[in-house]
């Protein structure tokens, strides 16, 4: 199956940082050649190579001496990116996190849960021309026959490192959910019905719409924890209280959720240290979200605003385009924190969570 994006080529120095390898580039190359069946020949003894996300995964498993012992744990954690305010960078952060986690070797499933379909756009999938089966349609089929989730995915990277369930504007129509029995569980029912399919991934990322709809509620019901994005500006900070009310509503109405009460992890996005109100609002956010705040503050990064429609392969404000940029560094730090917070495991191995905690220098 062809992929929507070109396979990313990760340069050796970035590959070293991503795998957390602590040694010289030469030793790293030798190790990789051993795992990947290297292309080093007597004629070309110092052949440099680029790495793909799938190769990073293999290398990391090898470095942990876990190469043969792959054990899938069942349902992967769900990172539901949700904030009751639009324009705070949910999609930017969600798509970049997905790409970053794939670069760290985790198999990601990205579900675009927003009828605006901006995430679909970012990954370079054109919903005006391409036939799209969105997640709402798949959910509506559960219980009536095969859900067809396998056919809904659009591979973004090869080898299942990053798959997308795209969205388009028709997802706005939620009429089928109006009549569905206990519609809050609609997404959970899909997860339960297709456990085998979903458990091939290490993490599921959902980009939710800002407003409260049946669909977003249904996603929240299947999440242990939300990932809420807030910018250090008055309106988004005030919107934290709106988010609080939707969380409280779920926790009040469903006090006995099997996965425990709904929590949230708040991350500050688009911080600009030269703006005094930004710095001042950080204190407010810190008091408001004490105990659920991400330590990483994502800086305002100009690279995430770039979009080149003429060059669809490089289209999109993505981590993969510039691994050395300050914005990418923040996304990487955040991804490593989330590995711990959401307990994301590499092929089911918890030792990975331990390694993920480490920030390579």
């Amino acid at each position: 199956m062809s992929t929507a994006r070109k396979v990313p080529k990760i340069k050796p120095r970035h590959a070293i940082a991503l795998t957390g390898f602590d040694g010289t580039p030469k030793v790293f190359r030798d190790r990789c050649n051993k795992v990947l069946g290297g292309d080093k020949t007597p004629e070309k003894p110092y052949q440099h190579r680029d790495y793909t996300p799938a190769e990073i995964r293999l290398i990391r498993l090898y470095l942990l001496s876990l190469a043969g012992a792959v054990a899938y744990p069942g349902m992967p954690p769900v990172i539901n990116v949700r904030m009751s305010k639009g324009g705070v960078g949910k999609t930017t952060l969600a798509t970049n996190l997905a790409v970053c986690l794939a670069h760290l070797g985790y198999r990601c499933l990205f579900i675009d849960g927003d009828p605006q379909s901006s995430a679909t756009d970012v990954f370079g999938v054109d919903w005006t021309t391409q036939k799209i089966t969105h997640i709402s349609e798949v959910m509506s089929r559960v219980g009536k026959g095969p859900s067809g989730i396998q056919n809904a995915i659009i591979p973004i990277y090869p080898d299942g490192m990053l798959d997308l369930v795209a969205a388009d504007i028709t997802m706005e129509n939620e009429n089928w959910l109006l009549n569905a029995m206990s519609r809050e569980y609609a997404f959970q029912r899909l997860l339960d019905a297709e456990t085998e399919f979903f458990s091939q991934y290490d993490v599921i990322i959902i980009d939710s719409a800002p407003g409260a709809s049946f669909l977003t509620t249904s996603f929240m019901m299947a999440s242990k924890k939300l990932l809420s994005v807030v910018t250090p500006e008055p309106k988004p900070v005030a919107a934290l209280d709106v988010l609080a009310s939707s969380i409280a509503e779920i926790n009040y109405n469903f006090p006995n959720r099997a996965i425990g009460p709904l929590g949230t992890h708040v991350v500050v996005n688009r911080f600009d240290q030269t703006k005094k109100p930004h710095v001042e609002l950080l204190s407010t956010i810190a008091s408001k979200c004490q105990g659920m705040l991400s330590d990483v503050i994502v800086r305002q990064h100009v690279g995430f605003l770039k979009e080149n429609k003429d060059d669809p392969e490089h289209c999109g404000p993505l981590f993969e385009n510039d691994l050395g940029a300050p914005g990418s560094r923040d996304v990487l730090d955040l991804a490593r924190e989330l590995v711990k917070v959401f307990d994301i495991r590499l092929a089911g191995h918890q030792a990975e969570a331990v390694l993920g905690m480490r920030i390579a220098a």
Partner: protein, 358 residues
């Protein structure tokens, strides 16, 4: 990659961001805790503790697994055991005192992590210092509980957790790291795995492990204050033991290592000091022996000054080791003292004890 970005913890430490206040929980904090039971219910009764956690109302009846670290519960201090894997052998009393005071004031802000033992008690995975401080603080405040995340871990995972948690903190000393690595090796981990999991270099691993080849008597001395004895110094010590085998070398080394650990000597002086003890230079003019730096230490044991007399050049170097000292002020004090000494000598020419090098 590029330089690190902003972290909340760092910005709170530097004072840019005000630390969060505990006054009243915000709406979002209330929302997250909406269904968590009232505090009286959470406190685990002393007997079968594990069962109490499992039956906490947040876990559904058909979900046998207890909440794994999702939500902090209040545990009684006397139900918690210290981990046998804890690599820290030494804690700075002053740091611990400061932590105790802050805990007495505001309580434990970040819950510790524990695992359930088969006996129904709890064992610490992370947060030994907070636990120790909480026990001290409880004597003052009478608060007999500590917030904790409860995890399900078998002994092997718990070992990894405890050690990696400490490895990620900056101030684990080399000797403590060595003990931790030894435990990992005993658990059957290969060196490659240790390197990958702990994120330390191969050189660090072997240097640290070699530290444990020192005689037990010397290790016992190091354990008194491992901050002052690095793995590099241990390498020198092992070389010296090889050079001067037997009781003679060990005894001299023990004396010098004690002095280093007590802050009387610098680590760099190990080799010269041991060699001086074993083969003292032939008796000559007394001045030649004082050509090594000497330390002036504070009551807390920190180096404040080091002085270095160079009889050959007829100079004395005074180095202000404590960064907070005003060097010009120190020079003024020394000049005053010298001036006073010179005056006294003029007044009382018989005082031959005084030697005044410039």
């Amino acid at each position: 990659m590029t330089k690190p970005g902003f972290k909340f913890s760092g910005m709170i430490n530097s004072g840019t961001v005000k630390p969060p206040e505990n006054a009243t929980p915000s709406l979002i904090q209330q929302a997250v805790q909406a269904v968590s039971p009232a505090p009286e219910d959470v406190v685990v009764p002393p007997a079968p503790a594990a069962a109490a956690i499992v039956q906490s109302p947040s876990a559904a009846a058909n979900e046998p697994a207890p909440p794994q670290g999702t939500q902090a519960v209040e545990l009684q201090l006397d139900m918690i055991d210290v981990s046998p894997n804890q690599p820290r052998v030494y804690s700075d009393d002053e740091e611990l005192k400061a932590l105790t005071e802050s805990i007495a004031m505001t309580g434990v802000r970040f819950p510790i992590s524990v695992r359930i033992l088969e006996s129904g008690r709890f064992e610490i995975l992370a947060g030994h210092r907070r636990f120790a401080a909480a026990i001290e603080a409880s004597k003052k405040t009478g608060k007999k509980t500590i917030p904790a995340y409860v995890h399900i871990r078998d002994a092997h995972d718990a070992l990894l957790d405890t050690i990696t948690e400490n490895e990620n903190r900056v101030n684990l000393t080399d000797y403590e790291r060595a003990l931790a690595l030894q435990k990992l090796a005993a658990a059957g981990l290969k060196q490659m795995q240790m390197i990958a999991i702990l994120g330390v270099s191969q050189a660090t691993v072997s240097l640290c492990l070699n530290m444990l080849e020192l005689p037990a008597s010397i290790q016992a001395v190091i354990a008194r204050n491992p901050k002052r004895f690095s793995s590099g110094t241990a390498k020198v010590a092992r070389e010296l033991l090889k050079k001067y085998p037997g009781e003679l070398g060990e005894k001299a080394l023990l004396t010098v290592v004690s002095d280093i650990v007590d802050g009387k000597l610098l680590q760099q002086q190990l080799r010269s000091s041991v060699e001086f003890l074993i083969t003292p230079p032939p008796a000559g003019p007394a001045v030649t022996t004082s050509s090594t730096p000497r330390l002036v230490i504070s009551d807390a044991g920190a180096a404040v000054f080091s002085t270095h007399a160079k009889p050959k050049d007829r100079t004395i170097l005074v180095k202000c080791e404590d960064k907070r000292l005003d060097v010009e002020e120190v020079e003024r004090i020394i000049r005053d003292a010298l001036q006073k000494a010179v005056r006294e000598k003029e007044e009382n020419p018989k005082n031959q004890q005084l030697t005044s090098d410039s």
